[in-house]
């Protein structure tokens, strides 16, 4: 498969009262036509990574310290605002978690959906509005004409998220970045939105990068998964391998600590401690204070990444095991 997007050693730091390294040396690839899920808890840098791809990190206080984001071989980090405008919405588009804050409250949604068409495809006002009704039809809005004439506040959460998706796909982008698009929604509506995204994918062959903290959603839609913790990628694998045989202790713990609908357990295995504050990440492996399997070396030395076939993991335990096998 061809690589559509390569993130190489990305470092994004926010300079507030102190320096906050939100993303610290993140690398992963997104292949054409796949669904890649980025999983992690709050503050792990998953949203900042996706915002960096779109160059939407506010600078200042943010700064891209290092790294490259290659889209079809070209580094997006070097692009000017004008060049980026040509990418946003046309090549890569994005949907956000909270559709109410992402939509403009004073314009009708039809106009907002059509905006990208007018900018990128040179549609006039009327054509764009008509096309936006078509888009709303594609994402399964029951009464697209009325919806296009509504203001965001008149729509429910699920409808707003459909509007966001309609807006994102209006110019047939190659890649869709979805940043927790279903977190604010009820389960039945979440299922509807996931179905919309899945259907779009089969129809258009679009590449999807899906950011979430819900491992249930991951199992449902992902082809490959990147697990992030405290600004770093700790594990990357295809979805079946990750769930069947998680290599990093964090992934393992995460899978064990969620209550499941399909089975009842007496006690959940919890992860001790708290999600680390980005202003003061622990030394060595950033997961070591919460890791049950931590050894001496974890406290001091940052684990190197090991590649095992098509998966990657950063953990001393795995490194050691790999060495033993080779010896």
């Amino acid at each position: 498969m061809k690589k559509l997007l390569e993130i190489k050693n990305l470092e994004v730091c926010f300079y507030l009262d102190s320096a906050i390294p939100a993303v610290d040396g993140v690398s992963f690839d997104v292949y054409e036509g796949e669904t890649l899920c980025v999983v992690g808890e709050s503050g792990c840098g998953k949203s900042v990574t996706s915002l960096s791809i779109m160059q939407l990190v506010a600078t200042p206080p943010g700064r891209y310290l290092n790294g490259e984001i290659l889209y079809r071989g070209k580094n997006l980090l070097g692009y000017s605002t004008d060049e980026m405008t040509k990418i946003r919405g046309k090549e890569i588009s994005m949907i956000f978690q909270e559709p109410m804050t992402a939509l403009n409250p004073v314009h009708r949604v039809g106009k907002q959906i059509g905006e990208a068409l007018r900018i990128h495809e040179g549609y006039d006002k009327k054509e764009a509005f008509k096309e936006s009704i078509e888009m709303l039809k594609i994402v399964g809005v029951p009464d697209p004409v009325r919806c296009a004439n509504s203001f965001p506040y008149q729509l429910s959460g699920g409808m707003r998220q459909r509007v966001m998706i309609a807006m994102a796909i209006s110019c047939n982008p190659n890649m869709l970045i979805a940043d927790e698009p279903t977190t604010a929604l009820d389960v039945t509506i979440q299922q509807q939105i996931l179905d919309v995204i899945k259907n779009l994918k089969t129809k258009t062959g679009m590449t999807v990068m899906f950011i979430t903290h819900d491992l249930g959603v991951v199992a449902e839609i992902a082809d490959r998964v990147v697990v992030m913790y405290a600004g770093k990628v700790v594990e990357e694998a295809c979805v079946k391998d990750l769930f069947a045989n998680p290599l990093h202790p964090y992934t393992r713990a995460l899978l064990k600590c969620i209550p499941r609908v399909d089975e009842k357990r007496d006690k959940l295995d919890d992860i001790k401690g708290i999600v680390p504050n980005p202003a003061s990440f622990p030394s060595g492996c950033r997961f070591h204070p919460r890791c049950e399997e931590a050894i001496k070396i974890c406290k001091t030395i940052v684990p190197e990444e090991v590649t095992l076939g098509d998966r990657r993991v950063s953990c001393h335990l795995v490194t050691q095991k790999a060495k033993e096998c080779r010896l």
Partner: protein, 329 residues
């Protein structure tokens, strides 16, 4: 955990909580949001009753009605043998000592200008524990229960993460030694790894202190984990109540079944057919006629549109409100 001989600690009968909207001086017709509409339920001592439903189904309003923090339109709430709705302010305060509430958002439910110690101490002051040393002793005792360190006493909420703040809220509700704790989505604002800590804590506390919980959540996996019995709400009505295993294994209401099948299971090898529900939740100010779920129900028939189903007992402790539950599920 449930035992048939257990004492009923809370009995809610035909509870209705309507909110008036469109409050104009002269309006032709009064309009209401039917937040809780004719709900009856029993809670037995020592059990956890889970209440599940989508947003806007009235689950939070139900809790607030039980606390009497919102005005109730009609119905009866009997807590520990007392009729809560007929109590005056003074008596109500006495009753509130025995039932406490934990809120969803630990960021807005703690006063930022009070120290952790003050926050947990406040209920004791309100309820007339005048001895300072005694108050401190009890606060520190609750600290231990929720696994907070003693030196947090003089620190402020902003210094803590969501999980620890939620521990503070739990401590605040425990300090009066209540019998019943109402949990209003206590883990939905937390990260997954923290969620399990709080759920385990609540579980341990229940065993240690013989607490009764009413646990409200929209997350079915959490409900399955914590509850002994579960009550499914939709647009202000109870559609189904059953023991947790029974409800998750053999749901009898099409809404419950659809809700269960729309939850993603964290296992890519499970291939499920989603009976996804069409459409969205109708407005609670203008609920559909007949069965409230009929607008989204895949099995809808004429009878459902015209006639409202009543809660019927299908098997022991399994109650369903559906005309055709025997035929469909």
């Amino acid at each position: 955990m449930t035992n048939l001989n257990q004492r009923t600690i809370l009995k809610v009968e035909n509870l209705k909580t309507y909110f008036e909207i469109d409050k104009r001086f002269i309006s032709r017709q009064k309009k209401y949001v039917y937040a809780v509409d004719d709900v009856s339920l029993d809670v037995k001592e020592g059990e956890t009753l889970g209440i599940v439903g989508e947003s806007g189904c009235g689950k939070s309003t139900l809790l607030h009605s039980i606390m009497r923090t919102v005005p109730v339109t009609s119905g009866r709430i009997e807590f520990d043998g007392k009729d809560v709705l007929s109590l005056n302010k003074k008596e109500l305060r006495q009753v509130r000592k025995d039932k406490q509430i934990i809120f969803q958002d630990p960021f807005s439910s703690l006063d930022p200008r009070m120290t952790i110690g003050e926050i947990i101490e406040e209920p004791l002051i309100v309820h007339g524990v005048t001895d300072v040393a005694e108050r401190r002793r009890r606060v520190l005792e609750t600290f231990e229960y929720v696994e907070l360190l003693e030196d947090f006493y003089y620190r402020y909420p902003h210094e803590f993460s969501g999980g620890q703040r939620q521990r503070v809220s739990i401590a605040r509700s425990l300090v009066l030694k209540p019998k019943l704790i109402l949990c209003d989505e206590p883990v939905s604002a937390l990260d997954v790894s923290i969620q399990s800590q709080i759920l385990n804590l609540l579980n341990d506390l229940q065993k240690q202190l013989d607490l009764t919980y009413i646990f409200v959540s929209h997350a079915l996996n959490v409900i399955r984990h914590v509850s002994d019995r579960v009550c499914v709400m939709y647009l202000g009505k109870v559609l189904e109540t059953a023991d947790v295993e029974e409800l998750f294994e053999r749901p009898k209401h099409p809404y419950t079944a659809a809700l269960l099948s729309s939850i993603p299971i964290p296992d890519p090898t499970v291939n499920r057919v989603h009976a996804s529900i069409k459409g969205e939740l109708p407005s609670p100010s203008n609920p559909p006629s007949g069965c409230r779920f009929h607008t989204r129900c895949p099995y809808v028939k004429d009878k459902c549109i015209n006639e409202e189903p009543v809660l019927e007992e299908k098997s022991s402790s399994h109650i369903v409100a559906c005309h055709f539950s025997d035929e469909i599920l």
